[in-house]
C-alpha cells in the first residue's frame, strides 16, 4: 500500500501497468534492429514466402496424407450412455468428513454428489460401484441411475437402501438444479424398462422392490403407477392366429 506522504495523490497521471503484464507486439519487416526485418521471417523465395493462403492443412505435397492412409472403422453409438462411477469407499470417506449426509427423507442423489465434490461430472448418470465395500459402515439411502451388484449387496448389508431410478438428460438436469415442478419422464426404451423392472438391479419399477420398501419416505407414488403400467408385458400374450382346417 503506497503511503500518501511519499507520493502525490493517485490520479490519472500516475497509473502504470503491473510489471511484466504487457508484452511488445511482434512487428515484422521494420528494419534490421528488430531481428524481423527484410524477408520478415519468411526466408528466401518458395511457396511459403508468397502472400495469400498457404497450402491446405494436412496436405503432404501429393503424398497420401496420414489422415487418408488408414481405413475408416466402426460407428459411433448415439444411444451410448457413459455413467459417472463412484465407489463405496469414496462415499464413506465423504460422509466421515461431513461433506455428505443422507437420511431416508433426503437420499443421496446426483445433486449432492456433484456439489460435495464426490463426483466431478455427472455425464449420463451416476453408477455406484462396490470398490472398498469393507470400509462402508454407515447406512446409505441413495438413488443412482445404476448400481453394481456388489454395491447393492454391501449397502443393504449395512442397513441402507439403493433404488436405481431412470433419469433422462432433462430429468438429470432438473435433479442437479433442484427443480421439482416438472415430472420426470418414465423410460420409453424397452431395454430401460426391462432393466429397471428387475429386482436384482433394485430398479424403481420392480414390483418386488416396491413391495419391500412399502411406505419409505423416498419412494414416490408415481413409481407404483409406472410399475403397474410398464409391467403389463408380464401378463400379455401375443395372439396367435389359429389355422382353420
Amino acid at each position: 500500500m503506497a503511503s500518501t506522504a511519499s507520493r502525490s495523490r493517485i490520479s490519472l497521471a500516475n497509473l502504470s501497468p503491473a510489471r511484466g503484464s504487457l508484452h511488445k507486439q511482434k512487428r515484422v519487416g521494420r528494419g534490421q534492429g528488430s531481428n524481423h526485418g527484410g524477408t520478415a521471417g519468411r526466408g528466401h523465395n518458395g511457396q511459403k514466402s508468397r502472400s495469400g493462403a498457404g497450402i491446405k492443412p494436412g496436405f503432404e505435397g501429393g503424398q497420401t496424407p496420414i489422415t487418408k492412409l488408414f481405413p475408416k472403422r466402426g460407428f459411433v453409438n448415439q444411444n451410448e450412455r457413459v455413467w459417472a462411477p463412484v465407489n463405496l469407499e469414496r462415499i464413506q470417506h465423504w460422509i466421515n468428513l461431513g461433506r455428505l449426509s443422507c437420511s431416508p427423507e433426503k437420499p443421496i442423489t446426483a445433486r449432492e454428489l456433484l456439489f460435495s465434490g464426490c463426483v466431478h461430472d455427472i455425464h449420463d448418470g451416476i453408477k455406484v460401484l462396490g470398490d472398498g465395500a469393507e470400509f462402508l459402515t454407515s447406512q446409505i439411502y441413495i438413488t443412482p441411475s445404476r448400481a453394481s451388484k456388489s454395491a447393492i449387496r454391501a449397502i443393504e448389508d449395512r442397513g441402507g437402501q439403493v433404488v436405481c431410478k431412470y433419469y433422462n438428460p432433462l430429468a438429470l438436469q432438473d435433479c442437479v438444479k433442484g427443480r421439482t415442478d416438472r415430472i420426470t419422464a418414465a423410460p420409453t426404451r424397452r431395454q430401460d424398462i426391462m432393466w429397471y423392472s428387475k429386482f436384482q438391479n433394485r430398479g424403481f419399477l420392480s414390483p418386488d422392490l416396491l413391495k419391500k420398501l412399502g411406505d419409505a419416505p423416498f419412494v414416490e407414488e408415481r413409481w407404483k403407477l409406472l410399475s403397474q403400467q410398464l409391467g403389463k408385458w408380464r401378463k400379455q400374450e401375443f395372439d396367435v392366429e389359429k389355422k382353420k382346417k
Binding site: 497509473l15 461433506r99 449426509s101
Partner: protein
C-alpha cells in the same frame, strides 16, 4: 521525498482510517465541536491500493470512448477502371495493372484504418475491484467526505457557489445516491467551475480518479457498500452442508 501540501479546507481533516473500523467525519465550521461520524465498510473503503488494477480499468474505460471512425479507401474502393495502364512488356518500365494500386500516386491505401470497435472486455469483478480501490485511495488521501443529503432549495448558482467556497469544497465531485440528481441542485451547480455532480449509478472510475476530492451522499455510501461490499472479508467458514442447503 516531496512533501505534499494538504488541500486547504475549512473543515478539519478527518481522523486517519483504522483497519478495524473506518470513519469519515464532516463538520461544518459554524456547528459545534461535536463530530458526526460515519462508519464505512472496510472491504469497500479500505481496500489495498492496486495501481495496476486502476490502470486496467482506466484503459478499458477510455477504449470504450473511442469513436473508431477512421476510414480509408482501399484499391478496390478508389474510383477508377481496371484497365491495364501500360503493356506488360516492351516499355522498359515496371509492370503495372490498374491505376488504383497502392504503389501509385492517387491509388488506394494498403492496410489503412477502417471503422472498428476499439472497446475491450474486462472481467466484471476487476471493474468492481477498481471502484473499490479508487474509493479506498480517496479515503487514504483524506479526500473523501460524506454528507447526509445533497439538495439545494432554489436553483440559484450564486448562493450555492458561495456556500461551496466557504466550505472549501472546490475541485470536488458530488455523488448523490438518488436515482437522478435533484433538478434544483443540478441547475445551481452546473455552471460552477471546478465542481461536478453525478449519481452513484452513473459514476465511473475515470471520474473518481480525475476529481481531486469526492463528496458522497449517505445514500451513495449505502449504494457502494451494497454493490461493492463483500459479505465476508476472509475465507468462507460455513460448512458445506449449510452451503448446499442454502443453494
Amino acid at each position: 521525498m516531496a512533501k505534499t501540501v494538504p488541500l486547504k479546507r475549512a473543515i478539519p481533516d478527518p481522523p486517519p482510517p483504522s483497519i478495524t473500523g473506518l470513519t469519515a467525519s464532516l463538520r461544518k465550521p459554524h456547528e459545534s465541536a461535536e463530530c458526526q461520524l460515519v462508519a464505512l465498510d472496510p472491504t469497500v473503503f479500505h481496500h489495498p491500493i492496486r495501481r495496476d488494477i486502476l490502470h486496467l480499468c482506466i484503459n478499458h474505460y477510455r477504449d470504450s470512448l473511442r469513436q473508431g471512425s477512421a476510414n480509408t479507401r482501399t484499391r478496390g474502393e478508389v474510383r477508377g477502371s481496371g484497365r491495364k495502364i501500360r503493356p506488360q512488356k516492351g516499355s522498359g518500365r515496371a509492370r503495372l495493372g490498374d491505376a488504383q494500386s497502392p504503389m501509385l500516386r492517387g491509388g488506394g491505401v494498403a492496410f489503412g484504418p477502417k471503422p472498428r470497435d476499439f472497446s475491450t472486455k474486462l472481467p466484471r469483478k476487476v471493474i468492481q475491484m477498481g471502484m473499490r480501490v479508487a474509493l479506498s485511495s480517496k479515503v487514504l488521501e483524506q479526500n473523501l467526505g460524506v454528507m447526509k443529503t445533497m439538495d439545494w432549495p432554489n436553483g440559484k448558482t450564486k448562493y450555492l457557489s458561495h456556500k461551496i467556497s466557504s466550505l472549501g469544497l472546490k475541485n470536488t465531485l458530488f455523488i448523490t445516491g438518488e436515482d437522478e440528481v435533484p433538478t434544483m441542485l443540478q441547475r445551481a451547480i452546473q455552471n460552477i467551475p471546478l465542481v461536478g455532480v453525478t449519481t452513484s449509478r452513473e459514476v465511473n472510475i475515470h471520474e473518481l480518479l480525475k476529481w481531486p476530492r469526492v463528496m458522497l451522499d449517505a445514500k451513495a455510501v449505502d449504494f457502494f457498500e451494497q454493490s461493492l461490499g463483500k459479505p465476508y472479508a476472509c475465507v468462507d467458514d460455513t460448512p458445506v452442508q449449510e452451503a448446499i442447503s442454502r443453494l
